[in-house]
Subunit: 132 residues, 2 copies
């Protein structure tokens, strides 16, 4: 779809790459990049999603989508963990993911979709830093 290599597109990708471990919403990205118009942000995110460079999370039913940068395709094979405190994303091992998905498929007859599922909780770092 993207036929041109525009400045805007590059800036967006740069930003996404430097925040690869976070799950961001379009509006957050838009605010972080004031030099890009909101419409351009939304349109580019949608395009990147189609290309597979970006994974949209929690699309069903709502408007608000969260994007996760998936530089390579490796991220399609495993599940992601998202810290509710710091927002950082962690990656579940492939073997572990496989076991989890298999288990649910076998016992519950439910096919878990790796790319649209995110497990929420608290990461090691935030749990130790009890400076609440």
């Amino acid at each position: 779809m993207p036929t041109y290599k525009t400045q805007t597109r590059k800036m967006l990708l740069d930003y996404l790459q430097s925040h690869a471990d976070e799950t961001l919403s379009a509006s957050i990205i838009s605010k972080a990049l004031p030099e890009i118009s909101v419409s351009a942000v939304y349109r580019n995110l949608a395009a990147l999603e189609k290309e597979g460079l970006l994974a949209a999370v929690r699309e069903a039913g709502g408007r608000e989508r969260y994007y996760r940068f998936t530089a390579a395709e490796q991220c399609r094979r495993h599940l992601h963990l998202s810290c509710k405190k710091c927002g950082r994303t962690f990656h579940l091992g492939e073997a572990q993911t496989e076991a989890l998905v298999e288990s649910i498929a076998a016992l519950d007859n439910f096919a878990v979709d790796r790319s649209s599922t995110v497990l929420y909780g608290i990461c090691e770092n935030c749990r130790c830093t009890r400076d609440k």
Copy 2:
């Protein structure tokens, strides 16, 4: 918090009970119950959430919240599976949930939050009915 038993409140609960297996957003509920004002819907949902009768899903960062009816408290102990096709919710067994959470806690040092996590995928029913 809710000191009065109002008509509105009753209608809302009736609706939620008859859709206990679905994860609904406030606006969807609001549209399904035109006789209740939107503000009343939002305020009651928020109140029900505080009471623990309703579980809010995916609150972090966004505005849009999805509610799941949790008649009892039993739902806090296990994870939920949500079908991307029919929207129905399924419940993972307690033992299975425990194993999953434990495994991630042990291997990744990440504390999965049962109530805010939902696994997305396709349910048995929708997978068999391949009438795309």
